[in-house]
Symmetry: D2
């Protein structure tokens, strides 16, 4: 990795992948530090890599970022799918995929951009790595994921807000569960890692927590619920990560089968688990799928701070010539790690961590 | 309506139907006023009419209601289905329905209860009316409904909290919608009346609001969304009451068809509308079903106040001999109306109200 | 009051007095309805009447009001003191007051403005009335006050949000009071009317509520606290409106006496009451002055709705020629009343209202 | 430090010092783990060390801790001042201080308690250390401080919630500041360390942050405010830690000088700074002292989790014989450190940390 200091005068910035609370705080910090501290000009690309390939961008000044710190979403827009190395193009009415990465580099060059901040999840960071490795174009990554599953950083912004939203939901379901003697199932995000389910589940006082890292059997889940009933506790709270799966089972992926106007098929693990619990235990069960609410809203102070620190560090590290890296929280410091180390592996919940142990000791079941 | 003053020494209280934020505040106020002001004793029945029929009850003193004002749910428990006049009994492994109302009256008498406060929705209030009319047993109703569709009162507690929860959800979806240029559909409660959808929709700045009172056509909905797109507004927010229905269409009732472990069918109007919008407009659309979150959580100050006023008034009115009535908000006063006037009709959104007019003038579409 | 329909093409709008959550929602609704429904152009004056006199204004289009619905404050700015009829002008280094109302009218005329929406409290509405009466210039008032003390309307926007903030503060103080066996005193807004203290006090479960309408004696306050202690309740919550006053006492106005860098004198009724309670009862007492926090934050859904309805109605009423009036909530309708009826009198808490009665019955002391 | 495994059958627990959100979560986790995992019995002492000396205690079972996870305060009660080694005793109408530590040990022994969990701040942990060192009585400390200034742990519970409350306050003041073109000063907790001011200030987008670690001059503060004014930013937000002090100045300690009923003197640094700013800049300035609100409310998910992990670890470590230690967060692990290392030193904001640097780079002034 090169550490030679460039004479950088203009940088680009883009947000890729699903939105997360704190994206605007990163943008704001980066713009302010770039302009005030280093006298740079900043170009923001619209809608993630789509704007990079299609050359849609605009100048960002400190005035443009006033008031965005507490706001969710991203003022730059984002998309989930566009990848410059595998870009969807409509040809003869069909979508074909082409490598338009050279065009992206040309756009950067023609705009006079000498370095690029890419804020995104594993997918976006892989693209960042490839831009750096293939073209040597100076990039720095800023890790973003609601799910908190990016390796090589203690935490990503967005996660704390998602946990807050999920915990508040559990708090709300608690009173209804109690009043009606029901089982309430809450499905939260976490396709490959159960961080949100684990943190919100423990913080919300759940009785059962199902995460991708620990395959469950529905019988163990029901056993816990029935044990509670025998102890006179007439309700139970079950938190399920969307990627939780039964022992030996496949990951249940949500699918929407279009049928008539009157009905639609939607099968997520939350609904599956809820239906099984009601059938096996005979206790009335209700399912809530939290979905997109977890991505939205004003970021928590923690996420605003982490995002601000990441945004400032991204600019500082670029000016130090730390290219091809990703900013990273190594509590209590912000540092950087090579993108090559950060992408491709996933930070999953360690089964031996003290939180899992404490949860088990307090009687929370993981369905295993 | 009899207004003869009884020498009441002991009253009963129960909560029926779906839980709503504020139930505990009603119980607390009723107990405190009954004990402190009138020296009564108070018996709380557990799990609504089930406890009344099955004689499950407990004494409630001011000490028992300490700290419950800000809590959702109901400390007494509630059930949705049990009706003393049509009570589910298991006989030979099957459920048969019997009239056990005399047994309920016997229980009241044997406990020395001279008057009963029934807190519930339309169904519970109908039972209250029947107890009064058939047995002459002194009852007073306290109206409760998240949906705000009970006639003969300006508002019920629980509604303001549900609107707050729904509005917060819209606020959260807004940032994601904007960041991703998506249509976000939010399904909220309101089977027969669109109050929650209308209030939360306007308060949250929705673009389309679909309510049971105004049958919609999906084309008009899509027209609005596409019109926004042409104006450069790349996202739209659609709020749908669960009872919204297309012109000439049936109410789409949620049904869960049990299939394999891997899939489950769940069809609500929100999913139906979302699927149609994506198909017709070609714009990525996401659906969130708010569900039980609307029932939960700490009641808003408005709901705490209204519930407190209702609870206090219920006791005062009983002591004045206002039997067979329901407490009612007639802004700014609390009054009472005969139960016979209150039940059986539904308070729906008046199509000519100023809020509908204002919404239309600001460009909100109702899909008509 | 004239009801002749003018051919209005352009209207002005300004916000006067202290800011309140919902001001932006009024502006947004007025602009959208004016432009979309009537094809008007809208001019916003900056910083209330200061902008009107000094001719500082800008065009407001629907685009300018995007995203402001959930935001506190006012995008137009506001000031508390400037009155066109008694305007502060600096002459020879001193402030003298002049009647610059004709200059304000000239500004309106030269901008081609044919009618003016004035959003403000009693002071601003008096100015509105005078502009209408003296110059016959078409105005309509929109009532705004945190304190909810404007007559001739059931409620004003901003109040519900202030009550929510104050109630949340009481909720927070509760746990500390309980943990430490302390008396916690919370001073809230309400110089002439005790609405916030009463509503938040009851909603938060306060033990003592002191409001301007009911002069208190400190002995009665302490009696209540000691009575609670004897009952084993080791803490008490006292909510004090800033305008509460002891029997025979003067209104304690906050004054800041500038002294050395090291100390400053600040005497509000909350501190006075807290000091007295600690001295008389010997129980540790802490005082919190909520102050400006009550004006801030995102408006509650209720306030967003009421403000939206007011803003839309203001434009509709102007187009109907209802000049010299004020929009008003007469639950469930929005209507208008002559400004002459609305200003100069104050809506105070009626001592015989059911909420005061319920509060007393539950054991809350008003210190009388 | 002894690591010999005792045959522990019964443990005690107490909470000392000012209350903090999360205390109940610690108690809950400790009780659940002690009873479920190890079959211990748990005795809770009331009101901190007062209950230990005065032998006021009660048995705690899992049933006693149901529902307390999301609640602020402490179900055990706490006091700020009582120290067994220097205990206030009333003799002949005067308070004298005596060493009653042997009495505390006797109480522990007579109750059959073999180990004690002490949850508290620096003062309480010092007492814990002394109990261990002088009597060899097995203790373990759990660090608690709103201010986050305890050394030897990455973070304490309560801090995240306090930052959330302070940040929300800044968000609210922002809109008023903007609407009125004012300087808003917010005084937050932090007598010796500026963590809350720094975190909330950056998260809330403050313009000036004054902390104990960086002595300020009022001229630099005003310079920043006037610079903003020149740039057209008509308002400023100043966050002041209660322990902030001017260069060469003394810590301004709040004092209440009792005077007449009409006035009271109260001088905190917030008021001092606010008064100076208004005088020097001529810009209207308002001061809010957040005070006890920072201690209250439901703990954030982070604090619930950290407190839960601490509570579980305290019991686990006791059972491992780790006496005379304090549980500690060493991200991502929970470990323990000798109390001797943890007490007496203070974790202050490092002046060279990346957050201070980022804040400066973004233009935030620290008044130096």
């Amino acid at each position: 990795m090169a550490r030679a200091r460039l004479s950088i005068k203009r940088i680009g910035i883009l947000t890729g992948g699903g939105d997360a609370p704190g994206l605007n705080a990163v943008i704001r910090a980066a713009v302010k530090v770039a302009v005030r501290e280093y006298g740079l000009s900043v170009i923001g690309f619209e809608d993630g890599f789509a704007g990079l390939v299609e050359n849609r961008s605009r100048r960002l000044t400190p005035k443009d970022v006033v008031g965005i710190l507490p706001r969710g979403g991203t003022i730059l827009g984002t998309t989930n799918r566009e990848n410059p190395f595998h870009y969807p193009v409509r040809e003869n009415g069909e979508i074909v995929y082409k490598d338009l990465s050279q065009q992206a580099i040309n756009n950067l060059n023609s705009l006079g951009i000498q370095a690029l901040i890419i804020i995104g999840g594993d997918g976006s960071l892989k693209i960042a790595k490839e831009i750096w490795e293939r073209y040597g174009f100076p990039v720095i990554g800023v890790p973003k994921t609601i799910d908190n599953d990016i390796a090589a950083t203690d935490q990503t912004f967005g996660f704390d807000t998602a946990v807050a939203t999920a915990t508040e939901a559990i708090d709300k379901l608690h009173t209804t569960a109690e009043a009606h003697h029901r089982v309430m199932v809450l499905e939260v995000m976490g396709r490959y890692a159960g961080w949100i389910a684990l943190h919100a589940g423990v913080a919300g006082g759940a009785d059962v927590i199902l995460i991708p890292e620990i395959p469950f059997t529905i019988d163990k889940v029901c056993e816990k619920i029935l044990e509670r009933q025998r102890e006179g506790k007439k309700f139970s709270i079950v938190v399920v990560a969307e990627g939780a799966k039964p022992v030996g089972g496949e990951v249940v992926v949500k699918k929407i089968v279009k049928e008539s106007f009157e009905s639609i098929r939607l099968g997520g693990i939350g609904n599956v688990v809820g239906e099984q619990i009601e059938r096996i235990t005979g206790i009335e069960t209700r399912v809530t799928v939290l979905g997109h609410l977890q991505r939205g809203g004003s970021p928590t102070p923690f996420d605003r701070l982490l995002a601000t620190r990441f945004g400032a560090a991204a600019v500082n590290f670029l000016m130090e010539g730390r290219f091809g890296e990703m900013v990273s929280l190594r509590t209590p410091d912000i540092t950087s790690v090579p993108l090559a180390e950060a992408v491709g592996t996933m930070r999953r919940v360690p089964l031996g961590c003290d939180l899992i142990r404490a949860a088990r000791q307090m009687g929370i079941s993981f369905g295993d």
